[in-house]
Amino acid sequence: MDWQAIWLTVKLATLVSMTLLVLGMPLAHWLAFTRWRGKFLIEAVVSLPLVLPPTVLGFYLLMAMGSRSPIGRWWMSLTGHGLAFTFEGLVIASLVYNLPFAVQPMAAAFAQVDPALREASATLGASPLRTFARITLPLSIEGALAGLVLSFAHTVGEFGVVLMVGGNLPGITRTVSVSIYDRVQALDYSGANQTALLLLAFSFTILVMVYGFRRRPWAAVPLT
């Protein structure tokens, strides 16, 4: 078992899902309640990683992180090294890649809270922030949890983007899924099987948790 890869993956997934919980919540709230007509454009951008081949996304992320892009140069001036093929680069790529998995369940859960409850809260003197904390979030907590759990699980399982942006550096960017691919390339099927079985058990547990939280009808994709 490649414990180094497992630890790295857990670290990456925790960091990514927690960051998305904090960053995704305001975005999800805005998407759920804005009356702006151009909202669909933002929805499309957020959802792009769902349909884009990971290699395409990984390619553009790699370009954006390279020394020829403004982002890459800015990071270089800040830290003295590039973003590509580093753990930080992997975190940023995973944030982009997992955005819809965090934002969609949260936005859907916020939107199903009865608007009259939020209006009642406002007429009782509550600021929008307090209305969110006391009414919207408690009544859609399973959506926030689903966003957290799904983005965690998805980070654990991502492969294409990791390989494109992070490469395969042990202890830095080699995650479990890359590690499995590695073993198979080396014809070490039993080593691959051990890690694969662990991922299978993990994914199943996650989905049991997600569907357990949700008291709504079963959907094939637990996103919307």
Partner: protein
């Protein structure tokens, strides 16, 4: 304290254009579903933004497009009881009531919740969730939650229409008792004319976004000036008729009902002979006899046939064909005494002043 409302707003079906005042006490905003009543309430609360106009509570301007004033909902100090109540399902009755008191000292919160809970009979229910109490108790909790903050005005969107009359009037008695010392303006929206008599001191009648009439329930509902208002106000019989004779000295005129030979004597108006008028008669104002009545002061005695008879709670509703179709309300005892059945020959007795002339 008076609320001055002047709101113009383009809605999908019509343009809302209303101007009225709500003095201290209970004012009923009365009209059919879709007349714009709820939108008016939402504009006062700041939940929708009018295109033009001005909304002020006393000296305090909440909205004025001329000065670009638009006070945020949470700063308007307006109590709002929603049609579906909108109690917070995850909070106890106590936490629901205390919701608007955040930021005040704990002592004050406790004493205010206790006092309002006492006024509305909720003291034993404070620890329950909204789903664990009855419909009437939920209405009380929603009222208590809206009133505990001492709002400058209270807005009620048909919160009691789902309750029976007894519970309804008890809750309104509690509300009046609570408001006796405070004297804030209360605006109560309903489409039910029975609630108007039971609950209100003043009525503002709304139709398709416009104020049709304002005044006491008696002025507005017993003497409706408008056909739409008459049917809303419980005038079950509305007929078009032609003036055939004016009797200036007796203050009456004779009208022939359209599509029938039946005639009615009605109070005199400006209408000239030959002109079309619309007559409204309450079903409860018509007497039924199973013999031809003699020696009555009533001028209108129409012969007809009983077409149908049905029982709605304490009221027997009779449909009588007398050239035109009349709806008549009887008590069960009255219906029994007359031994009425389908096809019975009956006479309808209608006093001249039970016939109201309304505009079309």
């Amino acid at each position: 304290m008076t609320v001055a409302v002047d709101v113009r707003m383009r809605l999908s079906a019509f343009v809302l254009d209303v101007t009225f005042e709500v003095p201290a006490g209970v004012t009923i905003l009365f009209g059919a579903s879709g007349a714009g009543k709820t939108t008016v309430l939402r504009a006062i609360a700041g939940l929708v933004r009018p295109d033009h106009g001005r909304i002020a509570v006393g000296e305090r301007v909440l909205f004025d497009d001329a000065t670009s004033t638009d006070v945020a909902v949470q700063q308007r100090q307006v109590g709002y009881v929603f049609q579906q109540l909108a109690l917070f399902p995850h909070l106890s009755v106590e936490d629901n009531i205390a919701y608007g008191l955040s930021g005040r000292p704990l002592d004050e919160r406790r004493s205010r919740v206790a006092s309002v809970a006492d006024s509305f009979g909720l003291l034993t229910l404070l620890q329950r969730k909204p789903t664990q109490i009855s419909g009437g108790e939920r209405q009380r909790a929603a009222l208590a939650r809206a009133l505990v903050t001492d709002p400058a005005v209270l807005l009620l969107d048909e919160p009691l229409s789902a309750l029976d009359h007894v519970v309804q009037s008890r809750i309104m008695d509690d509300l009046r008792g609570w408001n006796e010392a405070r004297q804030i303006p209360v605006l109560y929206v309903t489409h039910n004319h029975r609630e108007v008599y039971a609950l209100g001191e003043r009525v503002v009648a709304l139709e398709a976004g416009r104020v049709l009439a304002t005044g006491s329930p008696h002025d507005v509902l017993d003497h409706p000036t408008h056909g739409v208002l008459a049917s809303l106000a419980g005038f079950e019989n509305i007929f078009d008729a032609v003036v055939i004779e004016r009797r200036e000295r007796s203050g009456t005129m004779q009208c022939r009902l359209q599509g029938a030979i039946a005639e009615l004597e009605v109070p005199l108006t400006e209408a000239a002979v030959g002109q079309m008028v619309r007559i409204a008669i309450r079903a409860g104002d018509i007497l039924v006899s199973n013999q031809e009545p003699v020696g009555l002061s009533a001028r209108n005695i129409l012969r007809g046939t009983l077409a149908e008879l049905s029982v709605h709670g304490p009221t027997v509703v009779a449909g009588v064909d007398a050239g035109v179709h009349f709806v008549v309300h009887l008590t069960p005892g009255g219906a029994d005494a007359l031994q009425l059945h389908g096809g019975s020959r009956v006479w309808l007795v209608i006093k001249t002043y039970s016939c109201r002339l309304v505009s079309t």
